[in-house]
Symmetry: C2
Subunit: 369 residues, 2 copies
Amino acid sequence: MKRLAILGSTGSIGRQVLDVVRRYPDRFSVAALTAHTGADLLCAQAAEFKPSFVGLTGSTQAIDCAVPVAYGAEALEEAATRDDVDTVVVSVVGMCGLKAVLAAIRAGKTIALANKESLVAGGSLVMDAAKAAGVDILPIDSEHSAVWQCLSFGKRFQKIILTASGGPFFGRTRDSLKNITPEEAVKHPNWNMGAKISVDSATMMNKGLEIIEAAHLFHTDRIEYVIHRESVIHSMVAFEDGTIAAQMSPPTMDIPIQLALTYPERLPSGTPTFDFSKPLTFHAPDEKNFPMPALARESLRIGGNAPCALNAANEAAVGLFLKHKIGFCDIYEIVKGVLSTLSVIEKPTLQDILNTYDEIVGKLMRDYR
Amino acid sequence: MKRLAILGSTGSIGRQVLDVVRRYPDRFSVAALTAHTGADLLCAQAAEFKPSFVGLTGSTQAIDCAVPVAYGAEALEEAATRDDVDTVVVSVVGMCGLKAVLAAIRAGKTIALANKESLVAGGSLVMDAAKAAGVDILPIDSEHSAVWQCLSFGKRFQKIILTASGGPFFGRTRDSLKNITPEEAVKHPNWNMGAKISVDSATMMNKGLEIIEAAHLFHTDRIEYVIHRESVIHSMVAFEDGTIAAQMSPPTMDIPIQLALTYPERLPSGTPTFDFSKPLTFHAPDEKNFPMPALARESLRIGGNAPCALNAANEAAVGLFLKHKIGFCDIYEIVKGVLSTLSVIEKPTLQDILNTYDEIVGKLMRDYR
């Protein structure tokens, strides 16, 4: 019986984690649940799964719930470090995930990781801590899960090839994107996602962030990506003998979520195999019209707090775009500007990372009030 | 240093095995070489690789060679069982491969297997012997090598999905194939192969034989195939969670040959990775117009000496077709007729298998003299 703490249980990933627990009640128990919002759903989940700890991080106001609830940001770390927890599923959004991941690692927990910020902003901190503690970090993101699976073909690889759907504006020129509205940007062809991540997909920054994550998870800078509109191949790994290993399935988070929990076993999921009814196509990246991934690579090259700055600037800029305060193409210009004027800290501490994030987001919010 | 016996060293696979030895002279030595024909090339190979044993199986007449040469069919088993051999590469064509494989297994050698007949005609004998001796059988065929690689994704699989190029007559109706000439049938779109195997590709019997081989190698009857014209995905394995693992590379035998020798390591080969410049397409099998794979499955279902009979009948019929004695579509009719009138031996011995083969080939040769 694997005892789970699910951080962010009312979000899309958190809810699907609970579906896996429902599917395999003999294999998993829920020891802790936390949510930032969605108190009603959190209470319903608590009633169903009977965890020993329930936390509502987004409020300090007591809610009407049949079980005892802890309130405020501290609840996240408490859930992540409890003695009755084996695996911590980190499916919260934002920088709070980084602190929770580091706390869980120090407590010796296995990490099932769906929080982008942990690796993008604090990749070196997280990977160093995991190595020191001898803790496994199992990726839940579909691309990184695919890479992790493909690495079973062999230890030494030539390069990682992430796949990218290309987003809703694939094939368009930068000029034609100037007047894109938030409503157009959040329509993704293959995946049903939140607004922020949908815009990241439209700008291709999602692939940039994934390159940073993959660089940390797999200790390499040999990472390419290819546009693959069908989102059936979730990523690939090329080996020195010329072999490419590919992981395929219909576009669903069900498989990577379940595998991170059941690993090293695979169990039946709710997803059928791809039925080969359509061709799989590939296109070279177009970084002239979609320059975000190049910016992400540049932040990796600078190192230190630069990827954190990139992520903070992107997050703030996407927020401003969604509020109609800046145009679609301004997102890139803002991130580029932040990166070029950054005071680089080569070996940032956790506090340096958190400060970098707060300062950049704070300044952009003030600048575009 | 892995010491190789290469049975069939002057054929296409044998020559490529020697290319791998040339590429990694510090890892491999050649202890034994045999060839059925091609005495001049065999002598040149012997001069270059200095094996302790050289055999010419297709002749009992002494040839002019700088090193001592053994002659006749017995040379095959001697090469396969010598004390100074670790791995036996079985790249001979025909039923003699089965005897050599069984001898090598009993001598405790690792088998790198490119001989179809061993598994098609004698699959149960070979797999039982390998299990009893604790010997590994590493497939060299591109499809089976791909399946074997994909199985690293997980132990329990849902099904194997072989890929098939579809051959030169993909998309055509059976009626339109009646007057196909041998010259048309041996033109394969992706692979440069011998005449017999090219005709097997044109009739799709190659996929039928591969289904039988895979059934033995991977202990399953859950084997499908899909037409994949580009021959980039060399086969796939579907797992219970909905994941499909795929092995990709440009169409070359270089990778499966090298991997069978270097396993569990992968080393740089002469083959680049697939460059994603073209789409990958898939089509459902068309067994109405290409019914050979169904016949192969039927032989598996019957069991015993039936797959051997299928293979013998097919080999004889393809030979008759290549000599313009029968039409292209007669190949199927002959194999079907042989299978439907076969005296089934449920638990055949090696001698039963060899007799089944000889009787069927002999009879067909007499019938169509």
